[in-house]
Amino acid sequence: MDNAITTNMLVEVKPKKGNNALFVWLGLGLVFWVFIYYFLKRAADFISFNVLGLSPSSHLGGSVSFFLYDAPKVLMLLVLVVFGIGIIRSFFTPERTRGLLAGKKETIGNIMAASLGIVTPFCSCSACPLFIGFVEAGIPFGVTLSFLIASPMINEVALVLLYGMFGWKVALLYIGTGLVIAISAGWIIGRLKLERFIEDWVLERRNGAGVAVSDLTGMTFENRVRYGLRAVRDIVGKVWPYLLGGIAIGAVIHGYVPNGVLASFMGKGAWWSVPLAVIIGVPIYSNAAGVIPVVQALLEKGAALGTVLAFMMAVVGLSLPEVIILRRVLKWQLLAVFIGVVAVGIIITGYLFNAVL
């Protein structure tokens, strides 16, 4: 293991502050955060109704107070959770995950792969190298798929937003069903023995894994904090316009669309709304930040929770760009089965939620 490479990969070279300064600021930041969060609703209402003079029962009053409360609330939650998950992720790399999964049989492998998919930092465009690398390490095909399904579908931004808007039960349900879909879809496709539909040049590589760049396990805690902060800057920095846009749309729906309007075609009664939502959602790619605020507003107006969650998972979990990239390593028959199994899993989940909640 080359130490120069290891340490170089850890952290941006910044002028050395003392460790203490960083942790002090961190502590202060957290205290400040809790304080502001606690008073958010009151502040939002105060500004909307007392300062701006809007009426709580008016359309505009409803929309504005919704926006003023929701936007900072969601942003704050996002910052906290992305930071926390960033720190967790600093303990995991694709290389390490591969090491953990190599040699595991199916079922156990599927469960581990799906769980690791949540905590391993991974961008959808890496689907190919990762797929190939896992194949080379002898990881069963279905297990690799469980990872590839779980990773985009269980998204920390979506998690935060669901928690912030619907509470921890819905958030847990989201993680739980995401895992179940990833594990079972991967397992099922593994059982179908479709390896012959992997592109030949990939299969030819099954001759031992190359030595990948060393993993980041040597990080100090301070480095992990910096990694987390950088994740916040990258993710929140990229996502906040979509977030505000989504919340704004949600605010308008909240204030102006009459209650119950959506119940007719997105409500529990319309059985075809779940598959329809998934079919529409699959080709769309949006990051979770933009979709969920709209989801919340739709729910308020009578759409069924299962339908709306299914839509969200279809949008976030399967994306056209990712499918196009996977086409380089999977033949179209396998790709179709992949999309099909995941889509069916999401549809079943949608029905389940509608029936149960």
Partner: protein, 80 residues
């Protein structure tokens, strides 16, 4: 010096290319910079997660976008 940037063309790989070009310009060194988007070519290197940075045929970074300072360090280390 030969520098290769590995990636199928997503935002991160493009950003990496841009940063590398800027660093090379700042340092004023002679470097051939190539962009590999073909998966077969990319997989010649032991990479698991794109974007990847290869200097003189050695993979120095993968799976993330290093800062310009880090890229500078990689290049300086490779020259030594």
């Amino acid at each position: 010096m030969n520098i290769k940037i590995l990636g199928p063309g997503c935002i991160n790989c493009l950003a990496l290319g841009k940063k590398v070009r800027e660093v090379v310009q700042d340092l004023g060194i002679e470097a051939e910079i190539e962009k590999l988007t073909d998966m077969r070519q990319i997989m010649q290197y032991p990479i698991l997660s794109t974007p990847g940075l290869v200097i003189n045929e050695k993979l120095v970074s993968s799976g993330r976008l290093p800062s310009k300072d880090e890229i500078k360090e990689f290049i300086v280390a490779a020259k030594a």
